[in-house]
Amino acid sequence: MTMVNLTLNGKQVSADVPDNTLLVTFIRETMGLTGTHVGCDTSQCGACVVHVDGESQKSCTMLAAAAEGASVTTIEGIANGDSLHPMQQAFHENHGLQCGFCTPGMVMSAIELVQDNPNPSEAEIREGLEGNICRCTGYHNIVKSVQAGAKMMGG
């Protein structure tokens, strides 16, 4: 067992978990935040993307213990009270989601993409989201959402 201490959505949390606990399992099961999803077992789909110290990270591909001391942000942690994060708002306005399963990972990836590149072109967005699979939307409206989100985030 390993004691894991980290900051989760701004709150200090700690738990004693088996050594091989993945970060996604820590988030979903130990901490009960089920907004982060698991869509594959080969680190391909991006449904599990969270931010670790501000960087996008596939939480299925990282041990919880490796996030010791880090600041982890999940989809539950980006809205400001009742008002959505601009990227969440942009996905809503532009119909960037259907079943919602890929959405948390998609939004988290999109936020980091825009943080790194405040004014991305369509091609840059498509390439930047290559690690997130969506089976529902055909990506058209996701791209539109990210463009709008980038504008709203001040790019």
Binding site: P18, R28, L33, T34, G35, T36, H37, V38, G39, C40, D41, T42, Q44, C45, A47, T74, I75, E76, A79, L84, Q88, F91, H92, E93, H95, L97, Q98, C99, G100, F101, C102, T103, P104, V107, E122, A123, I125, R126, E127, L129, E130, N132, I133, C134, R135, C136, T137, G138, Y139, H140, N141, I142, V143
Partner: protein, 794 residues
């Protein structure tokens, strides 16, 4: 299009009510649910395609830490547990019935595909169950697999009661007439196509959590289902003998289905069964590898096509001989998909006087194959739209002109095809014209030349499709072998304060019903959309329902809701008449208000609702108190969306990579309730069709191992594989439902594969290439180019 009376009514692109929970991580999917004391089940699956089970040794595993129970097929048999049933069977050419083999929920004596369920290991934690599974020894006698569809009939017999590995041998149409047309044709066009096997890959893997309540001997099953009531019926009545009143099935938020979550699978039944045996909740969540192995796959046909043309290039006949891979067991809609949902679509949007088709459904030692987005209709459209292009090329006509010339003319509706369907309405030229304009068809040759100057081959491809949505009516479906009805139910319950609850038997797993259905209700009742709540996915809350598939939700479920709302309005009018002391006939309802013609008397909808529940001044002699109405709606016919999709591609001859550079489509879905949601459905459908045409392929090797069992090997469309899509509509309103709607969920997936492959062939046609199979991978395309160039050089 009917004018919305309020701003969020019919026809408005209202932003979705359901979005917020998904965007904030508060969606509630089955895997997110945890019950106190829950156990976890891990399934040991067959590693062989075909084998007899000689022995299962589980003692060591049973003694492992945390293990609570280990079940095998013997335990299932001892408890008399039944298997999933086939929901629709057909009659063979010779009058005999479909051969239906047993499908035990845990293999009993034999396994028939890699991934078949053999042992259920149940433990306190998932890790303990998986560790213990390593200690279970299974002794197999390996048998020869049956993988090659074309030769499945001569392989070793897979099921005792399926001779020649043929489940069914179906036919439709007039064989003599089709033969005569082919014999007297000026031109005969021949084509053989393979509709590649796909794996649905909803992003949420399947999951189930069952809980037994000993106090009233009842069960609750949370499951990833597109149709919870059917799950309840099948598990209750056919598998576990639980009275339906004692089984509650909840399909909460479901992360996509595309057909794969229609069927009842063994895992759900095992969880339910074990929850009583162990008196604890039992949970299972598939990992993606299990989804690849054991979700029902889609498509997988071989179609031999012969089309007859007269001297004016009009189609005079069509014959299609199909071999369909049904896989190891008969999944719920595995039989209806390549037959009833396929053969009647072979007329497409064309006047074809004589059609005949034969479909043989074969058993193989591969995963069960069933309906996947479009279900039978993509296969029909693919072969038809491929042969249309082949024919146009053969007779030297422009493919658009050849289609136009053979379209059913708009004054020919209702149109009776020679393959059972009667199309109520349609007009196929306007969407063709619009799509041609949207993609600038006229300017294509200039673009081709410009691409050539950059060393690229550019091609354009069309597909004009028809689809049939909302399978109906029940009586006809029953006559054709359906074992269920195909109506839909809706209850509209108005609260005393005027808020509205709508209970629908359809299920939303991405389609946005919370919004679309609320728009219909808000529009009709003149209330704010925010006061309308759509409730679905819980067999204890909804009267009954057939779920969502076949683009039926709006055309059948939405129409049922509209009917229930009409009943509410009828009752409200009588209450209003009483309150305003007017005759019923003088009361008019519009914009949420009841008025009496010629007076300034008026009552709001909310006032009527209150009066219905506080009936102090009330027409008790005529009405019961309360304001709640239920409607069951059984449609008179299928609905028939249609349209044209056009793809434009560029091929790099040095790599064989096909770049999809443009897409234009114009669809006729009848009236649109929420154009934004409709457009999203079109986008998603096209993306899946592009996946089929360029990227995706489920491949079993000759030993029956699934080679493409992860996202490393099965190529899913990603953001950078696709362009933006140009989408537009024409409208011919459906004639037999009150909303005039047709359905839009599958059109993109149906129309797109042939458009793309036609474009690829068009790009390579100057080299002499005339055929390309799906998926058109870089390797295949590169080889085709190379072979053509080598041939030209010789």
């Amino acid at each position: 299009m009917p004018e919305g009376s309020i701003k969020d009514g019919i026809g408005a692109s209202v932003r979705r009510k359901e979005d917020k929970r998904f965007l904030t991580g508060s969606g509630r999917y089955t895997a997110d649910i945890t019950r106190p004391g829950q156990l976890h089940v891990h399934f040991i699956r067959s590693v062989h395609a075909h084998a007899n089970i000689k022995a299962i040794r589980k003692d060591a595993a049973e003694a492992a830490e945390g293990v609570v129970a280990i079940f095998t097929g013997e335990d299932v048999a001892a408890d008399g547990i039944g298997g999933p049933i086939c929901g629709w069977v057909v009659t063979n050419r010779d009058g005999s019935p479909t051969n239906e083999p047993p499908h035990p929920i845990l293999a009993n004596g034999a396994v028939r595909y890699v991934g078949d369920h053999v042992v259920a290991v149940i433990a306190e934690t998932l890790e303990q169950a998986m560790d213990a599974a390593e200690l279970v020894e299974i002794e197999y006698e390996v048998l020869a697999p049956v993988v090659d569809l074309a030769n499945a009939g001569s392989g070793p017999q897979i099921h005792e009661n399926v001779p020649g590995n043929m489940y069914f041998d179906f036919e439709l149409g007039d064989e003599a007439a089709a033969t005569a047309a082919l014999e007297s044709a000026a031109t005969v066009v021949e084509l053989e196509v393979r509709n590649n096997r796909l794996i649905p890959n909803a992003m949420e893997p399947r999951a189930a959590l069952a809980e037994y309540d000993p106090i009233d001997d009842s069960y609750t099953l949370f499951t990833t289902s597109q149709n919870p009531h059917l799950t309840r019926l099948v598990i209750g009545a056919f598998m576990l003998s639980i009275p339906e009143s004692k089984l509650r099935v909840v399909a909460p938020d479901v992360g996509g289905g595309f057909g794969s979550k229609i069927y009842v699978y063994p895992e759900e039944a095992v969880c339910t069964w074990a929850s009583k045996k162990l008196q604890r909740p039992v949970k299972w969540t598939a990992d993606r590898s299990e989804s690849f192995l054991a979700d029902a796959h889609g498509r997988d046909h071989i179609n031999k096509v012969r089309m007859a043309l007269d001297k004016d290039n009009r189609i005079t006949g069509l014959r299609v001989d199909t071999v369909a891979n049904i896989g190891s067991y008969l999944s719920a809609f595995s039989v209806v998909t390549p037959t009833i949902l396929h053969a009647p679509l072979l007329s497409g949007c064309y006047q074809i006087p004589a059609i005949y088709t034969n479909v043989k459904g074969m058993a193989t030692t591969t995963a069960p194959v069933d309906a996947y987005r479009g279900a039978g209709r993509p296969e029909a459209t693919y072969l038809l739209e491929r042969v249309m292009d082949t024919a146009a090329r053969q007779v030297g006509m422009d493919p658009a002109a050849f289609r136009r010339m053979n379209f059913i003319p708009k004054d020919a509706f209702p149109y009776q095809t020679p393959v059972a369907l009667q199309y109520d309405i349609g007009d196929y030229e306007p969407p063709l014209d619009k799509a041609l304009e949207m993609i600038d068809y006229k300017g294509f040759e200039a673009r081709r030349a410009e691409a050539a100057s950059r060393g690229k081959y550019r091609g354009i491809g069309l597909s004009s499709y028809i689809e049939a949505c909302g399978i109906a009516p029940s009586a006809v479906a029953g006559a054709l072998g359906a074992r269920v009805g195909l109506y839909e139910s809706a209850t509209v319950r108005v609260d005393p304060t005027g808020t509205v609850n709508v209970f629908t038997g359809t299920h939303s797993h991405g389609q946005g019903h919370d919004t679309t259905f609320a728009q219909i209700v808000a529009d009709k009742l003149g209330v704010d959309i925010g006061s309308v709540e759509i409730i679905h996915g819980d067999s204890d809350r909804i009267p009954f329902g057939m779920g969502s598939y076949g683009s039926r939700s709006l055309a059948v479920g939405g129409a049922a809701i509209a009917k229930a709302v009409d009943k509410v309005i009828e009752k409200s009018k009588i209450i209003a008449a009483h309150l305003m002391e007017a005759a019923d006939a003088d009361v008019v309802f519009a914009d949420g208000k009841f008025t009496v013609a010629g007076t300034d008397n008026e009552k709001g909808f909310g006032e009527i609702a209150l009066a219905a529940y506080v009936p102090h001044n009330y027409p008790h002699d005529r009405l019961e108190p309360g304001l709640e109405e239920t409607a069951f709606y059984d449609p008179l016919n299928f609905t028939y969306p249609s349209g044209t999709h056009i793809a434009e591609v560029e091929i790099d001859p040095s790599t064989g990579v096909v770049e999809l550079v443009d897409w234009a489509c114009c669809d006729d879905f009848g009236n649109l309730i929420n154009p934004m949601i409709v457009e999203g459905q079109v986008h998603g459908g096209i993306a899946q069709g592009v996946g089929q045409a360029l990227l995706e392929n489920a491949h079993y090797d000759e030993t029956g191992q699934l080679i493409t069992a992860s996202y490393m090997d099965y190529c899913m469309p990603r953001a950078d594989d696709l362009p933006n899509f140009k989408v537009d509509y024409t409208v011919t309103a459906c004639t037999h439902n009150d909303l005039g709607v047709k359905g839009c969920g599958e059109a993109g997936a149906i129309a797109s594969p042939p458009a793309l492959i036609n474009a690829v062939i068009d790009a390579l046609a100057p080299l002499g290439v005339t055929d390309m199979s799906m998926p058109a991978t870089p390797e295949k395309v590169w080889r085709a180019i190379n072979d053509a160039q080598t041939e030209a050089a010789e």
